[in-house]
Amino acid sequence: MTRSRRLLTAIVALAAAVLVVAPAALRADETSAAWTNSAYAVSGASSGSWSSGPTSSCVVLTAAGVEKPGATCTVTGVTGQDWGDGAVRPHRRSHVTVSYTLTGYVWTDYVRFTGSLAPAVAADWLWSTTAVTNESGAVSVDATARPVVTLRSESWATASMMVVVDEDG
């Protein structure tokens, strides 16, 4: 190929490249020139009360109210049962049963349970207005730190204690 022919070929290639690349560059400009507009919305939020609470525990107490050496109490469950009345938050009610096993006790001893009742009810339970009452006179209730409660029962009652949890008191 002569020098002049090579020059001609190069010029033709350059011209072709300009024709191909230029429109593509124009198209790139078109896609990158979008207009934007934003809209922001903000919301407040708050959280209720809950406590990590102590691990559920129970002890056997003597009639004098002191822990009985050698006796054991082991919590086996804290479960709730809805009354099935279709009530919704904050008007729900649940029967909560605290179950445990005992060793080394006599009929005059007592059992004291301390723990949270929260695992037994719905996660969005409204504890600030909740009342916790006993199902029988054999159980005394301290619910001032609800959902953490302290329950005391005569050991001979059963191997469990039942309370009623009313969301609207």
Partner: protein
């Protein structure tokens, strides 16, 4: 021995070369001219139209309702173009008194008040307690996050979800903020 004809040939050679170069330059000029013609329409024939011209408007608005779950909610909209002028979600009570292990939702709306379609992408960000702080934190979501195409004048409801973990740290309890989360929707003109 050189004949008069061959001497004439020798004298003509440089001139022929110059002619070749000239032809090349002209040819490349013609090529460039053709290239230019391809974009500038050298062969002309005209047809004229008249038309009104207007520019598009791009205007995405944030809307909320005091009762978004109603059958026909009443929406209040605002330009809310920046984070600092964010539209307050009226049903923020949806995120009140949150406790561990629960899911809370509300609905907001975005509205294309411009006259061109927009491609909209939405995101959600936690700004303050009880949604920020010690892990594990609540999980936030907005759906549809997009990108979605919103025609001029159209609107789209977005579901905003807050999911609190069952083991939500107790440091999040009893916290209140008037600006705890933010939804940002960005609309771009569709190419």
């Amino acid at each position: 021995m050189t004949t008069p004809d061959s001497r004439r040939d020798l004298r003509a050679r440089p001139a022929r070369r110059r002619g070749t170069v000239l032809k090349l330059v002209l040819a490349s000029g013609a090529l460039l001219g053709i290239g230019a013609a391809a974009t500038s329409a050298a062969w002309t024939n005209s047809a004229f139209f008249t038309s009104t011209a207007s520019s598009g408007s791009v205007d995405l608005k944030a809307c909320s309702s005091a009762n978004p779950a109603a059958t026909t909610p009443t929406w209040t909209c605002a330009a809310a173009d920046t984070s600092g002028t964010a539209h307050a979600i009226l049903s923020s009570s949806a995120f009140a008194l949150m406790v561990p292990g629960n899911t809370y939702t509300t609905t907001v709306r975005i509205q294309n008040d411009g006259n061109v379609p927009l491609s909209v992408t939405s995101t959600i960000t936690a700004l303050a307690q009880p949604l920020t702080g010690t892990a594990p934190n609540a999980t936030l979501g907005v759906s549809p996050a997009g990108p979605i195409t919103l025609a001029a004048g159209a609107s789209q409801n977005l579901t905003v979800t807050v999911t609190t973990p069952a083991n939500w740290d107790v440091s999040h309890a009893n916290q209140t903020s008037s600006a705890a989360l933010q939804v940002a929707a960005v609309g771009s003109t569709v190419p």
